[in-house]
Symmetry: C2
């Protein structure tokens, strides 16, 4: 497959524009609202949190996706999550969507909304409506507008997250771009963050949903920061068909190409979120190979990056491999520790530390050197099958505690 | 029921003695081995980690309990966990038990062993054997010997944990005592720590196991420090019958009295472990009331005290109640957020913060005052049934990270 990563984000695909506003929802002196619109109505797909305490905006978007769309715009705010807010919270979603209809004539039932921030606080609806009005007058398809949007949706994130790729489908050049935010309350279960993907491909809606759901399993659902599945996780994909390719209506070569591009984009954004986990100093990757089943491989790799003790050891560059094996042991997957081999790996080298039930003697200095790299991988070779999976997390640091001991103030 | 808490621990019941040794297994200048023996063979019961990566000593003890006992002694070491150590680790268990037989004539098949400390490191068997020999010459039934034993098994614990009670059964005075250790790698799944209970009651073995398994569900299985289920969790209960009561062979009044005493002792030790969680500054209790089922109540309360974000909020005295509701939402229990009421409670007062889907406006200063107490309770009234459960954990602090970033050195 020929795919090219280009500089860009949600405004890269044809017919998409974005704008931001500093609406004063919670933060001072920074943008806290973003809007992305398409020139024309889009087929849409989405995945949402499996937390049964769902934010009002999640319920709003789920209805649009479930009813089959279309979706033409999405309005996002940071600062307040609009979760645990009862009927008043749901009314706020409707008011925001109606403000888009008032300003741009886009039917309010095709306007997605998403929020991230403090739970259990009502949105200041008048500020949101004013923000929508402001943004409606400053929409732009420039790369800068996309970048600004990816910054406006940040909460405790330290870097913005965006990407775009182009590829060929039906002899046309198709563009797929996206942005996401997520730093805390991140744990694999549907998608665990806010993410917005835009593309000009022409594709059947249910095929698009199928591709997205499959890709999410090995990308956004494989990251964790703190084991807390958010009430607001939302990933939306909008396709407006402006690339002019022959519409994809079966799992042909174009479908596979699209899915591959989707995987690339989602994996990029997921890894960026993991390495920007709250307080994180490094990306912590777990690769489980030769597992009995794919589900085992996923479960085991997620358990490794999800363990507080493993994460603290990664922070301290302490090759305390027993903690990784311990986490695998309580993950729920069944295996024999006497089959397992464990390795630490990074740009600085690779070190075997455990060999089929037997702890190896290794050079501690070498272990520290390997673990000091900005990306550290633990490899677990299960020696019992042919399946593999990779999960991503980050280290557990003093700053994680600092950030979360008083998030609201 | 008439039960009296007395000063004491594992040596309080008739016929039990203890001794300790500084065997130099890992620590310098402190005791790191303890031995508890009974004058005569005991009926024994036990619960063990559900982690499938089980330490060698867990496998050793499980076999004794499964084969129906008896058990007459238990040897415990701190510093090295003897987990992930293959055949060499299992041989170390046998060598330790045989050292007891050599020194005291107690058959090695009736000697339990337990270890706690670093995973993935072999035990120094000669040091253990020397320790057993030393301890065999200094066994004592004094309260001080019990206290010293409870100190020798500590790892990152900051306080020792012991308790004893007396009660009447069959017109005889029965004594039940115990000690435990546990501070990190603590998460409810069988029993999640080392605990040793001794009693002089006379009771049928299978009834004793049944009582222990039931009590564990609402005590040791309801605590969490970091969500990491250890490879070494072991709770052993030994009963030597020296109280002279008529043997309990049915679920009569004496059985109920015994079970109640067992609950009291286990709950005490469990709470002590939670409040002494690594780096903890306070006990964090979650009480779920009016739940649909007992299992729901347990699941919900454990999710609240298990959430990193909730624990960080408790540390920061931040009444960020949405995090508690979020944790309940991803716990797996099914409920409607519009039925839930949430309260913070401590010795300083009680404050309602969420009322059936609606966040309440409350006095932040009052919330901080309540949350500054050394024991803080979150109450979730589900308003959908009559079942309740309580779980215990601790706050997540800078010191947790500090302790675990470089535990091995």
């Amino acid at each position: 497959m020929k795919m090219t990563e280009i500089k860009g984000g949600v405004t890269s695909a044809k017919g998409f524009k974005a704008a931001v506003a500093a609406a004063g929802i919670k933060y001072k002196g920074r943008t806290d609202m973003a809007m992305v619109i398409s020139e024309r109505p889009c087929e849409c797909a989405g995945t949402f949190t499996s937390n049964i305490v769902k934010a009002a905006c999640v319920q709003w978007d789920q209805k649009i996706v479930k009813d089959g769309g279309p979706m033409q715009a999405v309005v996002v705010n940071s600062g307040i999550a609009n979760a645990c807010t009862g009927k008043e919270g749901f009314d706020a979603c409707e008011a925001t969507a109606k403000a888009v209809e008032d300003a741009l004539g886009i039917p309010f039932g095709t306007v997605g909304v998403a929020s991230t921030g403090v739970i259990g606080m009502q949105l200041p609806v008048e500020k949101l409506k004013a923000g929508v009005k402001m943004m409606s007058g400053s929409l732009s398809d420039s790369g800068e507008a996309g970048t600004e949007a990816s910054k406006a949706i940040m909460t405790t994130d330290t870097v913005n997250k965006e990407i775009a790729v182009t590829f060929e489908a039906g002899e046309k050049t198709v563009t797929l771009g996206g942005m996401s935010k997520g730093s805390g309350m991140i744990h694999p279960n549907m998608c665990t963050m806010l993410g917005f993907l835009t593309t000009d491909i022409s594709i059947d809606k249910s095929l698009m949903q199928e591709a997205l759901s499959e890709v999410v399993k090995d990308t956004f659902n494989m990251i964790t920061v703190d084991g807390d599945t958010s009430t607001n996780d939302t990933l939306l994909l909008m396709a407006n068909g402006l690339a002019g390719n022959e519409k994809i209506t079966s799992k042909n070569a174009d479908y596979e190409t699209f899915k591959e591009a989707l995987f690339y984009v989602c994996r990029f954004l997921a890894r960026r979120m993991a390495s920007d986990g709250e307080g994180a100093t490094k990306l912590f990757e777990a690769k489980v190979i030769n597992a009995k089943t794919k589900e085992d491989a996923r479960t085991l790799s997620r358990a490794i990056v999800g363990s507080n003790l493993s994460k603290a050891a990664i922070f301290g560059c302490d090759a305390n491999f027993g903690r990784f094996l311990c986490a695998m042991g309580y993950s729920g997957a069944i295996f024999d520790q006497n089959d397992v081999e464990l390795y630490f790996k990074s740009s600085e080298g690779k070190l075997k530390v455990f060999d089929k039930g037997v702890p190896l003697t290794f050079d501690e200095d070498e272990a520290v050197r390997i673990m000091k790299a900005p990306e550290v991988t633990v490899i677990a070779d299960m020696n019992e099958g042919g399946e593999e999976a990779t999960a991503w997390g980050c280290d557990l640091t003093y700053d994680y505690v600092k950030i979360n001991a008083d998030y609201r103030s």
